[in-house]
């Protein structure tokens, strides 16, 4: 019998590509022989805009890269700028930053797991997940007035201090989240069909994972004991007791379990951060004309300079974002605007491994593997 190859274009508008990604599949029946990823449908020229905006103006754009976990994006950029300019950050601000980033990590993993399950056909998980996400977003909103795009972390500190009653509310949310986590695990982990769909699918060995430049939960799912928070400790992470969650298998199920474990670990971190939250300023006011505003309730509200001029130089600074290594490479020429901003986004680099992972599998496996890589298109195309 003569057979012919089927060329299937999945996307850019397809329910399970998490946005506007396109898979160009060469298929033999249902088996994927070759998967080519076509992207750029959300390429918004953020890096060019970085050259056109001042340092502070660019912070909102970082929110819109990985719009599910915007706070780490804020922080990664601000951290690069702070390193470039040599700004000290007060302890309280660092604690608030870590707290809010870990909260955002939980939110990100909830969305990630939820959309994975939705792609597998079980829509309930995402509904339940978004219920907890919504309450978390209300916390964000209390803190900085925005639900998704925060613009909260600024060079030298954070924009506003914790509002009244924030910590008790957060504690309540954490208690709720722990209960819900048990529900999630009952719904998903014990499900035989879920195991059938996820185990031994999209397997990638540790060696290959490093070679492809995977980072984040995707790499830890392959058994590489790595975490930027451990390898290159930043902020207050050296003082905090936590572990990098790894699984040795390297398949989709391992990556999923790593995410669940990370939610637990993040709750652990949150608890420590809340318990040892110091009092004090939230903005450094030494160098760049940041002066405390008198008369404000907590007397730590401050101005931020509109114009901000770091020294000439270049810096590459990375953090462990929920999706992996997020790095900003900034070249400054000593003016008010960066000379060049390069964003090393985790989604972009993690996506590289998909064609390797799905070789010889079927479309449903492609969706499962793609779901566990956890990609946000804003982050891929920038």
């Amino acid at each position: 019998m003569e057979t012919d190859e089927l060329i299937l274009n999945m996307g850019p508008v397809h329910p399970s590509t998490h946005g506007v990604l396109r898979f160009r599949l060469r298929m033999d029946g249902e088996i994927i022989k070759n998967c080519e990823i076509v992207m750029g449908y959300l390429h918004r020229g953020t890096e060019k805009l970085g050259e056109m905006k001042t340092y502070l103006q660019f912070i909102p754009y970082t929110d819109r890269l990985d719009y599910i976990s915007a706070m780490p994006n804020n922080y990664a950029y601000v951290k690069a700028v702070e390193e470039l300019a040599g700004i000290e950050v007060p302890q309280r601000a660092e604690y608030i930053r870590v707290m809010i980033m870990e909260l955002n990590r939980i939110v990100n993993h909830i969305v990630s797991i939820g959309s994975l399950l939705m792609d597998l056909g079980a829509a309930t998980m995402i509904m339940w997940g978004f219920r907890e996400r919504e309450t978390a977003l209300q916390l964000f909103e209390q803190l900085c007035g925005a639900r998704m795009t925060f613009n909260y972390i600024k060079p030298g500190g954070v924009r506003e201090d914790l509002p009244e009653g924030f910590i008790p509310k957060l504690r309540e949310w954490m208690k709720d989240m722990e209960k819900r986590l048990v529900d999630y695990e009952q719904l998903i982990n014990d499900n035989e069909i879920f195991h059938m769909r996820m185990k031994d699918i999209g397997t990638i060995s540790a060696q290959e994972a490093i070679n492809y430049g995977l980072t984040g939960p995707s790499l830890r799912g392959s058994g590489v004991d790595y975490d930027m928070r451990k390898i290159e400790p930043y902020s207050i992470y050296p003082d905090i007791d936590f572990k990098a969650c790894t699984r040795p298998e390297g398949d989709s199920y391992a990556r999923y379990i790593v995410r669940i474990d990370e939610i637990k670990e993040s709750l652990q971190i949150l608890r420590q951060v809340i318990d040892s939250m110091p009092e004090g300023k939230i903005v450094s006011n030494a160098k760049y004309g940041i002066a405390p505003m008198t008369g404000s309730p907590s007397s730590v509200m401050t101005y931020f300079p509109r114009i901000f001029t770091p020294h000439a130089g270049e810096v590459y600074s990375r953090i462990e974002a929920p999706k992996g290594e997020l790095g900003f490479y900034i070249v400054s020429d000593g003016t008010t605007k960066p000379y060049r901003v390069k964003i090393r986004s985790p989604s972009f680099c993690n996506l590289t491994a998909i064609p390797k992972m799905v070789q010889g599998l079927r479309i449903p496996d492609l969706i499962a593997a793609f779901g566990t890589i956890d990609v946000v298109l804003g982050d891929v195309d920038r």
Partner: protein
């Protein structure tokens, strides 16, 4: 007697006559003109001469506004808020809109949720063209409405209304789920006043 822009009294249809009349008596449509609701006026103008089908229109409009099935097409950040609108907390299902159809053939409404880049623009347009009439578009967020924060970018289209007609614009970056719901309610109001006899060519 006229109510809500729809003529209820029985009039014999003579389309040639309607075309030749130069000055019409002042109607509710003209009154609408004063309020500046351009889209409503355009819909009403299309309905000029439509008498027989007004009741059918009312029934169909009611059905259409009650069962707006959106097409599953998220472009960027706003898509996450679109998801949040569909989820448990805000529950767009109350309006009967939870059936997100992945196939544009079966959808009535397109949320252009996010930045429309130059590369995506022809695809968005194609998606719109694939949808079956009647269809509506809601431009969600600053990017879809005007280009938003990416207005200066080389690869972003400055407003999706440059390529497809938009019924409701939602401000925000991204808009809150409440804003989505408000946009849906506005669209329902708009559909209430539309006429389809003209579109079908039944009254020509």
């Amino acid at each position: 007697m006229e109510k809500g822009g729809i003529r209820l009294d029985p009039v014999t249809i003579d389309t040639t006559k309607i075309k030749t009349i130069k000055r019409r008596p002042v109607t509710a449509i003209d009154k609408l003109e004063d309020t500046g609701m351009i889209s409503t006026i355009l819909a009403a103008r299309e309905r000029e001469g439509l008498i027989l089908f007004s009741t059918i229109d009312q029934v169909f409009n009611w059905a259409r506004l009650s069962s707006l099935w959106p097409v599953t097409s998220g472009l960027a950040c706003c898509a996450i808020e679109m998801m949040a609108t569909a989820m448990a907390h805000h529950d767009i299902a109350r309006f009967g809109m939870e059936i997100f159809r992945a196939s544009p053939r079966q959808a009535d409404l397109m949320f252009v949720a996010g930045t429309v880049t130059k590369r995506m623009a022809p695809r968005v347009k194609k998606l719109y063209e694939m949808m079956a009439e009647p269809k509506w578009v809601i431009a969600v967020g600053a990017c879809a409405s005007t280009g938003g924060p990416y207005h200066e970018s080389y690869s972003v289209l400055k407003g999706v209304d440059n390529i497809i007609p938009v019924d409701v614009y939602v401000p925000g970056c991204p808009p809150r789920p409440e804003a989505f719901l408000y946009a849906v309610i506005q669209l329902r109001e708009k559909i209430k006043n539309e006429g389809y006899g003209a579109k079908w060519g039944l009254n020509k």
